[in-house]
């Protein structure tokens, strides 16, 4: 693939961010297992599994929770490829970097030595790295599964069940709403610049372009925030946030909540040392 220029690369990045948002919304609309559940049941059930995975002291139990996450993924018609690209590879790379020193630095019985440098690879070190990576992978998979199978607005409103303050939920909702708008604006800024640019930009021009785009966006954000506040005032906003959800817990939602929390409790129990 040909190397993209600075402007094309930036535009591609903005488009990719918008595509991810649209893809998530499409997946959340599919007729799958998790999509059909009340967001609060989903949130609590998945939170239970995350706690079970992160507190378990047995790799087999963490593996079982991960397997359950994969089954839920398939039953919810969430493409495994999406999870692989968006979650598993990134998490593996990031956590792997953090876990790598543990393989060599954790005291224990050295099974092998790295060629050339001779660093010892200990069983305890490998186990420590495996715990870290498997816990993070499982927790990330479950969290992304929740977000992919639920519209953002519902995820945020479901947070109220955990006593998250309404004002925080409202602010997060508005942030999500306007981030997408500002990404679109940033894309237009770069497209407009590209339409008037011949040849490649040198590093200094790229920096100036990025700084000026950031400045324009900041200024637009300030203007927009002032206007939005006026629009909120115009409709009666007086500093307090209120929310109304449309969620209804049915028998099926309760059944799945019991099943998921039961599985979580079982995993916590089985995961004790």
């Amino acid at each position: 693939m040909a190397r993209r220029g600075f402007l094309d690369g930036s535009i591609h990045g903005f488009l990719e961010a918008l595509e991810h948002a649209l893809e998530s919304e499409e997946v959340a609309k599919r007729r799958g297992l998790l999509q059909s559940l009340d967001p609060r049941a989903k949130l609590l059930g998945i939170l239970g599994l995350v706690i079970a995975a992160t507190t378990s002291r047995r790799l087999t139990v963490i593996g079982a929770v991960f397997l359950l996450a994969c089954i839920l993924t398939i039953a919810s018609r969430v493409p495994l490829r999406t999870l692989l690209v968006r979650t598993w590879l990134g998490t593996l790379a990031f956590t792997g970097l953090i876990a790598l020193p543990a393989v060599f630095c954790t005291p224990g019985l050295a099974r092998w030595h790295l060629p050339l440098v001779g660093w010892p690879v200990t069983v305890t070190g490998i186990r420590t790295a495996a715990y870290l990576i498997s816990r993070v992978e499982t927790a990330a998979t479950l969290s992304v599964l929740l977000v992919l199978s639920t519209p953002w607005t519902h995820v945020l409103k479901a947070l109220r069940v955990l006593r998250v303050p309404a004002v925080l939920v409202v602010v997060l909702g508005m942030t999500y709403r306007y981030i997408l708008l500002l990404i679109g604006t940033a894309r237009e800024i770069f497209e407009s610049r590209r339409s008037r640019t011949v040849g490649r930009l040198d590093p200094g021009q790229r920096r100036r372009m990025a700084i000026s785009a950031a400045g324009v966006l900041l200024s637009k954000t300030m203007y927009l925030s002032g206007e939005v506040y006026l629009a909120m005032q115009s409709r009666g906003f007086r500093g307090d946030a209120y929310l109304l959800d449309e969620f209804r817990m049915g028998a099926r939602d309760w059944m799945w909540l019991v099943l998921l929390t039961g599985a979580s409790a079982g995993a916590v129990w089985a995961g004790r040392r």
Binding site: W152, V228, L243
Partner: protein, 268 residues
């Protein structure tokens, strides 16, 4: 004019050093459909914001049913809730007005602020979405709406309060022709509703459909007030206030020429 909904007396308002309104005078009778005409920057939108109690005059007074609209007055919950319940404003940019993450939340925002009961809000939201034929958009986020859909949602978000006074800032700006005609249809449908509707616009083509009376602004002042036919007949006034434009066009005779003109019933 006795019992005016709004009474604007000698109002001045500036953005930093730029004067937006300078000695503006206006009285609006209850139930009147009034159009505020003027070129960009003539002060129409600023006046709407003063009437909506989100801007406050530097000098002069703006009164709503005899009560002066001041910041101090809006500090009182009872007055603020009553005013917001009865007066609603449609902003020009729907991205400003649609700040919630879904259409349902957007339409429910106003009633939630006014502390309506959850059951009442749910039933009113359903009803207003049905009325504007946008029930299918209920769970959509604003970034998945077209320009026309955004405008309809914005209208739903103010209509749900069933306000007596509607302030509309360029309601058809930036819309495609089909969406424009749909929005105009909605506004024209309020003719016999008893509502006071004040519309800022420079779209002369729809004037007679949306207004019974017009005021023309220039440089922050009211320079004319009359019925739509009288305003539209005054070509000199329209030209002077920047409301006529020139472009090449063909007449029935086949002649192509350019001159400042309007787009209704023009033969020359």
């Amino acid at each position: 004019m006795a019992g005016a909904v709004f009474d604007v007396q000698n109002v001045r308002y500036c953005y930093d050093r730029v004067v937006a309104l300078d000695g503006a005078m206006l009285k609006v009778a209850p139930g009147l459909r009034l159009a505020l005409l003027g070129a960009n920057g003539s002060g129409k939108s600023t006046l709407l914001r003063l009437l909506d109690g989100i801007y406050f005059a530097e000098s002069g007074t703006v009164r709503f049913e005899g009560e002066a609209l001041t910041e101090a007055r809006f500090e009182e919950d009872a007055f603020a809730f009553d005013f917001r319940r009865r007066v609603a404003m449609l902003f020009q940019n729907p991205d400003v007005q649609l700040f919630n993450p879904s259409v349902f939340d957007e339409v429910a925002f106003g009633p939630l602020q006014l502390r309506w009961s959850a059951g009442e809000i749910r039933s009113r939201v359903e009803a207003i979405l049905e009325q504007l034929h946008i029930a299918h958009l209920k769970d959509r986020p604003p970034h998945r709406l077209s320009g026309g859909e955004k405008k309809r949602v914005a209208i739903a978000s103010v209509l749900i309060l069933d306000p007596q006074v509607l302030l509309l800032d360029e309601p058809t700006a930036t819309l495609d022709p089909e969406s424009q005609s749909q929005i105009i249809e909605i506004i024209a449908g309020w003719k016999d509703s008893g509502r006071t509707v004040i519309t800022a616009t420079h779209d002369l083509d729809v004037l007679e459909e949306i207004a019974d009376r017009c005021v023309v602004f220039q440089a922050g002042r009211v320079v004319a007030e009359a019925t739509p036919p009288a305003i539209l007949a005054d070509e000199e006034l329209l030209r002077r206030t920047g409301l006529l434009h020139c472009h090449g066009h063909r007449h029935a005779s086949g002649e192509i020429h350019s001159h400042p003109h309007r787009h209704w019933n023009h033969e020359t």
